[in-house]
Amino acid sequence: MDIKLKVDASGLSCPLPILKATQGIKTLQPGELMEVVATDPGSVKDFVAWAASTGNALVEQDSANGKFRFVVRHK
Protein backbone atom coordinates (compact mmCIF):
# COMPACT_ATOMS: atom_id res chain seq x y z
CA MET A 1 0.00 0.00 0.00
CA ASP A 2 1.54 3.26 -1.14
CA ILE A 3 0.88 5.79 1.62
CA LYS A 4 1.57 9.25 0.22
CA LEU A 5 1.14 11.20 3.45
CA LYS A 6 1.33 10.29 7.13
CA VAL A 7 -0.38 12.53 9.66
CA ASP A 8 0.36 12.09 13.35
CA ALA A 9 -2.54 13.43 15.42
CA SER A 10 -1.47 11.59 18.57
CA GLY A 11 -2.20 13.45 21.77
CA LEU A 12 -4.57 15.86 20.05
CA SER A 13 -8.18 16.10 21.11
CA CYS A 14 -11.30 16.75 19.07
CA PRO A 15 -11.58 18.55 16.64
CA LEU A 16 -7.86 18.59 15.83
CA PRO A 17 -7.57 15.07 14.33
CA ILE A 18 -10.18 15.74 11.64
CA LEU A 19 -8.80 19.24 11.08
CA LYS A 20 -5.33 17.76 10.51
CA ALA A 21 -6.89 15.17 8.20
CA THR A 22 -8.68 17.89 6.23
CA GLN A 23 -5.42 19.84 5.96
CA GLY A 24 -3.60 16.73 4.80
CA ILE A 25 -6.11 15.51 2.23
CA LYS A 26 -6.02 18.90 0.50
CA THR A 27 -2.35 18.35 -0.35
CA LEU A 28 -3.07 15.04 -2.13
CA GLN A 29 -4.23 14.16 -5.63
CA PRO A 30 -7.32 12.01 -6.30
CA GLY A 31 -6.63 8.36 -5.56
CA GLU A 32 -3.65 9.01 -3.26
CA LEU A 33 -3.61 7.57 0.26
CA MET A 34 -3.21 9.33 3.61
CA GLU A 35 -2.63 7.61 6.93
CA VAL A 36 -3.74 9.31 10.14
CA VAL A 37 -2.83 8.12 13.62
CA ALA A 38 -4.82 9.50 16.56
CA THR A 39 -5.24 8.73 20.24
CA ASP A 40 -8.60 10.48 20.72
CA PRO A 41 -11.21 7.67 21.07
CA GLY A 42 -13.81 10.02 19.52
CA SER A 43 -11.84 9.95 16.30
CA VAL A 44 -13.16 6.45 15.46
CA LYS A 45 -16.70 7.66 14.83
CA ASP A 46 -15.45 11.02 13.59
CA PHE A 47 -13.42 9.54 10.75
CA VAL A 48 -16.35 7.39 9.60
CA ALA A 49 -18.57 10.49 9.55
CA TRP A 50 -15.88 12.65 7.97
CA ALA A 51 -15.26 10.13 5.19
CA ALA A 52 -18.97 9.68 4.50
CA SER A 53 -19.56 13.41 4.41
CA THR A 54 -16.54 14.45 2.33
CA GLY A 55 -16.64 11.49 -0.07
CA ASN A 56 -13.07 10.43 0.70
CA ALA A 57 -12.91 6.66 1.21
CA LEU A 58 -11.92 5.18 4.56
CA VAL A 59 -10.10 2.14 3.20
CA GLU A 60 -8.56 0.85 6.41
CA GLN A 61 -8.93 1.36 10.12
CA ASP A 62 -7.53 -0.44 13.09
CA SER A 63 -6.45 0.18 16.66
CA ALA A 64 -3.69 -1.04 18.90
CA ASN A 65 -2.18 0.14 22.19
CA GLY A 66 -4.48 3.13 22.48
CA LYS A 67 -3.69 4.33 18.96
CA PHE A 68 -6.26 4.55 16.20
CA ARG A 69 -5.06 4.32 12.63
CA PHE A 70 -7.02 5.37 9.56
CA VAL A 71 -6.14 5.13 5.89
CA VAL A 72 -8.08 7.45 3.62
CA ARG A 73 -8.13 7.55 -0.17
CA HIS A 74 -8.62 11.00 -1.69
CA LYS A 75 -11.79 10.98 -3.78
Binding site: G11, S13, C14, P15, L16
Partner: protein, 137 residues
Protein backbone atom coordinates in the same frame (compact mmCIF):
# COMPACT_ATOMS: atom_id res chain seq x y z
CA UNK B 1 -31.13 20.42 2.69
CA UNK B 2 -29.26 23.63 3.46
CA UNK B 3 -25.99 22.53 5.02
CA UNK B 4 -25.02 25.99 6.28
CA UNK B 5 -24.43 26.08 10.03
CA UNK B 6 -24.95 29.46 11.67
CA UNK B 7 -23.63 30.13 15.14
CA UNK B 8 -24.61 33.09 17.29
CA UNK B 9 -21.65 33.50 19.61
CA UNK B 10 -22.89 35.57 22.54
CA UNK B 11 -20.76 34.17 25.38
CA UNK B 12 -17.21 35.32 25.96
CA UNK B 13 -15.70 32.82 28.37
CA UNK B 14 -12.93 30.57 27.10
CA UNK B 15 -14.86 27.33 27.65
CA UNK B 16 -17.80 28.47 25.53
CA UNK B 17 -15.50 29.97 22.91
CA UNK B 18 -13.64 26.65 22.76
CA UNK B 19 -16.90 24.69 22.43
CA UNK B 20 -18.03 27.04 19.65
CA UNK B 21 -14.68 26.77 17.85
CA UNK B 22 -14.98 22.96 18.01
CA UNK B 23 -18.41 23.07 16.36
CA UNK B 24 -17.09 25.46 13.71
CA UNK B 25 -14.05 23.31 12.97
CA UNK B 26 -16.09 20.11 12.73
CA UNK B 27 -18.53 21.68 10.29
CA UNK B 28 -15.69 23.14 8.21
CA UNK B 29 -13.93 19.74 8.09
CA UNK B 30 -17.16 18.21 6.75
CA UNK B 31 -17.25 20.87 4.04
CA UNK B 32 -20.23 22.76 5.44
CA UNK B 33 -20.33 26.56 5.20
CA UNK B 34 -20.28 28.23 8.64
CA UNK B 35 -21.56 31.69 9.53
CA UNK B 36 -20.61 33.13 12.91
CA UNK B 37 -22.39 36.16 14.34
CA UNK B 38 -20.59 37.77 17.29
CA UNK B 39 -22.73 39.48 19.92
CA UNK B 40 -21.95 41.05 23.29
CA UNK B 41 -19.25 39.13 25.22
CA UNK B 42 -18.56 36.81 22.30
CA UNK B 43 -17.72 39.93 20.31
CA UNK B 44 -15.76 41.49 23.17
CA UNK B 45 -13.50 38.41 23.26
CA UNK B 46 -12.35 39.19 19.70
CA UNK B 47 -10.78 42.54 20.62
CA UNK B 48 -7.33 42.35 19.03
CA UNK B 49 -5.52 43.57 22.14
CA UNK B 50 -6.81 40.78 24.36
CA UNK B 51 -8.10 38.01 22.11
CA UNK B 52 -5.65 35.48 23.59
CA UNK B 53 -5.94 36.79 27.15
CA UNK B 54 -7.65 34.73 29.85
CA UNK B 55 -11.40 35.18 29.35
CA UNK B 56 -12.34 33.08 32.35
CA UNK B 57 -14.79 30.19 32.46
CA UNK B 58 -18.54 29.86 32.96
CA UNK B 59 -19.49 30.16 36.66
CA UNK B 60 -20.33 26.46 36.99
CA UNK B 61 -16.69 25.52 36.28
CA UNK B 62 -15.47 26.18 39.82
CA UNK B 63 -11.91 25.46 40.89
CA UNK B 64 -11.93 21.81 39.79
CA UNK B 65 -13.25 22.83 36.36
CA UNK B 66 -10.55 25.47 36.07
CA UNK B 67 -7.86 22.89 36.84
CA UNK B 68 -9.32 20.42 34.31
CA UNK B 69 -9.44 23.05 31.56
CA UNK B 70 -5.87 24.18 32.30
CA UNK B 71 -4.68 20.58 32.10
CA UNK B 72 -6.45 20.09 28.74
CA UNK B 73 -4.70 23.17 27.38
CA UNK B 74 -1.34 21.71 28.30
CA UNK B 75 -2.29 18.26 26.95
CA UNK B 76 -2.82 19.18 23.32
CA UNK B 77 -6.05 21.12 23.06
CA UNK B 78 -5.53 24.13 20.81
CA UNK B 79 -6.56 27.66 21.81
CA UNK B 80 -9.99 28.48 20.38
CA UNK B 81 -8.54 31.26 18.21
CA UNK B 82 -6.06 28.83 16.66
CA UNK B 83 -8.86 26.30 16.04
CA UNK B 84 -10.93 29.01 14.32
CA UNK B 85 -7.94 30.06 12.19
CA UNK B 86 -7.41 26.47 11.05
CA UNK B 87 -11.11 26.09 10.30
CA UNK B 88 -11.05 29.28 8.22
CA UNK B 89 -8.05 28.10 6.24
CA UNK B 90 -9.70 24.77 5.45
CA UNK B 91 -13.28 25.71 4.84
CA UNK B 92 -15.88 28.35 4.23
CA UNK B 93 -16.09 30.16 7.56
CA UNK B 94 -17.41 33.71 7.74
CA UNK B 95 -17.26 35.76 10.95
CA UNK B 96 -19.41 38.87 11.31
CA UNK B 97 -19.64 41.28 14.24
CA UNK B 98 -23.12 42.40 15.33
CA UNK B 99 -23.32 46.13 14.65
CA UNK B 100 -25.56 46.83 17.66
CA UNK B 101 -23.12 45.06 20.00
CA UNK B 102 -20.28 47.10 18.47
CA UNK B 103 -22.22 50.26 19.39
CA UNK B 104 -23.01 49.16 22.93
CA UNK B 105 -19.46 48.07 23.72
CA UNK B 106 -17.87 50.99 21.84
CA UNK B 107 -15.87 48.68 19.63
CA UNK B 108 -14.60 49.81 16.23
CA UNK B 109 -13.81 47.44 13.35
CA UNK B 110 -10.11 48.30 13.72
CA UNK B 111 -10.24 47.14 17.37
CA UNK B 112 -11.09 43.58 16.32
CA UNK B 113 -8.78 40.69 15.49
CA UNK B 114 -8.43 40.37 11.68
CA UNK B 115 -10.11 36.96 11.82
CA UNK B 116 -13.40 38.92 11.96
CA UNK B 117 -14.52 39.42 8.35
CA UNK B 118 -16.95 42.29 8.75
CA UNK B 119 -19.85 43.94 10.51
CA UNK B 120 -23.47 43.00 9.94
CA UNK B 121 -26.97 43.40 11.27
CA UNK B 122 -29.43 40.72 12.27
CA UNK B 123 -31.35 40.78 8.99
CA UNK B 124 -28.18 39.95 7.03
CA UNK B 125 -27.50 37.18 9.55
CA UNK B 126 -30.89 35.55 8.91
CA UNK B 127 -30.60 35.90 5.14
CA UNK B 128 -27.16 34.24 5.20
CA UNK B 129 -28.41 31.51 7.54
CA UNK B 130 -30.98 30.52 4.91
CA UNK B 131 -32.81 27.34 5.86
CA UNK B 132 -29.79 25.98 7.75
CA UNK B 133 -29.51 25.36 11.47
CA UNK B 134 -28.85 28.18 13.90
CA UNK B 135 -26.93 27.49 17.11
CA UNK B 136 -26.80 29.95 20.02
CA UNK B 137 -23.88 29.81 22.42
Amino acid sequence: MDETISIVLFSGTDDKLTAAATLVAGAAALGRPVKIFLQYWGLDAFRADRVTADHGLAPEAGEAGRAAVDAAGKAGQAHWLETLRMAKELGDVDIQACSASMDILKIKHADLDPIVDGIAGVAAFYINAGEGQIIFI
